[in-house]
Each structure stands twice: as C-alpha cells, then as structure tokens.
Subunit: 256 residues, 2 copies
C-alpha cells in the first residue's frame, strides 16, 4: 500500500510527515505521523514505534511529545500510528472514550461486529510496518525496530514485544496498562472485542500473563517501565505495574 | 500580584508552570506558561518572552513549540503569555479570530469599549514582568530579558523592542506582521482598537514605521526575522517583511 503525504514539516533537521494509507486489516484509511531524522537522508536508520493511549491519534505525541530533538540527535525514525480504525460506522463505536474509536487496544477483535476492522494487532505488527518498509526502503531499517508507548499504548508495546521475542530490538512503556484482565479498562475492552467468556483469549493480550507463559525462559527480558506514583490511573488500579513485576520475577526472566 | 500555580510539569530537567494571576491592565484573570530550566534552581537565569499569534493562548507554544529542550540546555527561562484579555463580555469580542479575544495585537486600545481591558502593551511591558520578577526574584533575571514571537506575536516582539531600545537584550520574530498599517489584519485591529482616523496612533505600533522614527540612529539594530516564502500569510500580504527591511536600510540602522 502506498502512502499519501498530507504534510511535510521541518523538524530538528529532519522531517515530520503526516501520512495516510488505505489499510486492509482495519478496513479504513489510517493516518499516522512519521519522523525522519536528518540521518535518514543518507541511509537506513533504526525505527521506534510509539503506540499512543486512549483517545489519541498519531498526532498527539508527534506534536506534543517532544521526542524529535533526541531522535534527530540519535538518528532514529519514529512512527506514530493511530489507536484504532475510524469511521467504520459500527453501532456504539463513538459512545465511550475507552472502547471503539481511539481505543483499539492493539488486539484483533474476534467478536462481531468489531472484527470487521478492530484489528490493530495485525495492523501494528504486520500491515503498517510492511507498508512503511516498502515505501521508505532506503530510509527505514526493518531489522532494527523497537517499541514504546503510553497507557493503552504501553500495554500495546509490552504485549506485542512479549508475543514476538525475536521481532523487536527493545521495548519500553510509560504508565502502561500492565495487567488489563484485572483492570476496568482492560476488562471492558476485552469483553467487547473478545466476548465475556473468552478469558483464554484475554490472557493472550495481557502483559502479566504473557511474561509468565510466552517469553522464553532462557532469554533475558530487558524492559523499561516508568510509572509515576502520583498518576491518577495508577492510583485507580488501571495500570497494575506491580503485578507485572511480580510475574516477571516468578517467571525468572528479569535481570534481578 | 501573586500567581496561582495550576500545574507543574517536569520538562527537560526543569519545570513548566501553568500560572494565572489577576491583571489590572487587562481587567481579568490572565493565564500564562513559564518554563524554568534546571539552572533556575541554583540562581537567576535570563528570560525569553515568547509572544504568540492570533487565536493562541500561552499554552500553544509551551506545549507544541519544542523550545524547552534548548532552553534547558542553555539555561533560559521562557514566558509564554496569553494574547488578549478573556471573558470581558465586550460585545463582538468573540465574533472573529483576528480581533478581540485571542487578538490583542500588543497595543493599549484607546477606543471604547476595548480600552476597558485590551491593554496588552502595558500588560506585556510592565504588569506581567513586574509581577514575575517579584514572584520569582530568585530565579528570573530582570536585567536579561529578550523578546521573540510568531505572526501577531512577531509584530508584538518587534514593536515592543523598537519602542524600548534599552529594555531588552535581543529580539527575533518568526513570520511577523512587519507592517500592519498596510496589511488587512493590522488595519482591522488598529481601526478597532484606535479608531479609523487615528493613523498617527497606528504608526506607533507598526514596526516598519518605528524603525524609521523610534530606533536611535547611533544604535546598531540587531534583529533576526525568519519568514518562509511558502507561508500563505506572507503570500497574502499580511506580513510584508520586505517593507521593514527597506525601512531599516533607509534609516541606516541595520548591519549591512
């Protein structure tokens, strides 16, 4: 799939591209931001995928995240994808901020009618990178890709990383939803996308479960998770990072 | 006047403060952003005042301008004031984007009813700095203050600098309205704030006029003005930077 360039913005010697493309997995036009550092004009650079949180588009962090100066210095491209399909006209898609539009939760829905396009897992892990590395094959190094994200996007980064131990170079997360099957946001999303009873499926997208079951026991797990203890969602029990740390210790895959 | 701190946000080792205070000149509560670099915790730092353009508040550039990383590195505080009084309930204040709310044009209005609070010149040159240097007297160096701004704010930076040759250390402007008395935005604003016939007053807030009449002939004028030639407002004749350059040459105050 080729990309349409809707805007090109000079940024710290490189370029911020506002892109869109027709995506099969999500069944709609998807917008995204791509930051190309100055080094990308001379050859392939490593790529960091930033997964955004609830309600965001690819614009939020690209415009307000202050990543570009450091990406320019280090020579890293950043991909800022959207957080869900948009405009599928599924009943209820715009009813709440934490389900449907802006809240794809980086899963492939199995439940009708959401399975018609709420396939952000396939979009982020396959369709989007395949399209990007084809369209920017002289600038983006498909062999050096890392993940990060915030909140719902931190959940996305952790779960996608843990499910694909060979695919990404590194993973970090700001205030991630680290144990969604035990948190209100995650439970609402997984009920909606997978069904109330499909709890085995829920576990396939829960970082705390995945670190116990999916990550190779003989492979050291290096992750950076940063959560502020004053974070309201942390205090409300939406993030549960301690559960993840405990599970990683039990699994014996952490550094300590 | 003391400030209320509505939020404190960690930023590049320093702090972005969301402040508000009761202002006499503008007759309302004024919001602003103040970036304190890490160096401000050890002593007084120089201050850059960034004047925003039409429709903006003090939030826009603080959140999306990407200034803080460099301000942190260089040890510069940045003040991001609002662009007009708000909520004065003057008839017509919210009717257009280029007059009234969000469009104070950094003048003291002489015409009723705008003179009831549209006094952004006095606010920016006196009331706000007086209050800031009092409230943050151990952090902000009132003897090292510079100006910059964008569009209407570039006009503000240039005119305030030219009217006060001894007050500021430096001045620069992105895409400033450099000759407002000959541009549609400026003419609309000056008619509204000063009256149709008060063209002598108009000239007191026109950078191209001021550089001819106000700047000391024996003082070299160092300014940086950056305008993209693809800028739509430049192409529409709202900015007119060539008129300013021509006037500075005529006045013989530039470096060349």
């Amino acid at each position: 799939m080729s990309f349409k360039t809707n805007a090109t913005i000079a940024s710290f010697g490189g370029k911020l591209l506002k892109l869109s493309h027709e995506a099969k997995t999500t069944n709609c036009t998807m917008g995204l931001n791509l930051y190309l550092p100055p080094q990308a004009s001379k050859g392939k650079v490593p790529v960091l995928i930033y997964l955004s949180g609830l309600t965001c588009t690819g614009d939020n962090c690209a415009e307000k995240g202050f990543f570009q100066h450091k990406a320019s210095e280090k020579g890293i491209a950043i991909v800022y994808p959207d957080t869900s399909p948009r405009g599928l006209n599924i009943e209820g898609e715009d009813e709440s901020y934490d389900f449907g539009t802006g809240a794809g939760f980086y899963v492939d829905a199995t439940k009708e009618p959401w399975n018609k396009g709420y396939n952000m897992y396939s979009y982020i892990t396959s369709e989007l990178p395949d399209a990007l590395f084809k369209a920017f094959d002289d600038k983006l190094d498909g062999d050096r890709v890392s993940l990060t994200g915030h909140s719902m996007g931190g959940h996305g980064a952790l779960t996608i990383f843990l499910r694909n131990p060979e695919k990404y170079k590194s993973c970090s997360a700001f205030a991630p939803i680290a144990n969604p099957i035990n948190a209100p946001w995650g439970q609402k999303a997984f009920k909606g996308y997978f069904g109330d009873d499909n709890t085995e499926k829920w576990k396939e997208h829960d970082a705390t479960e995945l670190v116990k079951t999916k990550w190779p026991k003989d492979k050291q797990l290096d992750l950076l998770i940063d959560v502020g203890t004053g974070d309201n969602f942390y205090k409300q029990g939406q993030l549960l990072p301690e559960n993840f740390v405990e599970a990683a210790k039990e699994a014996g895959v952490g550094r300590r």
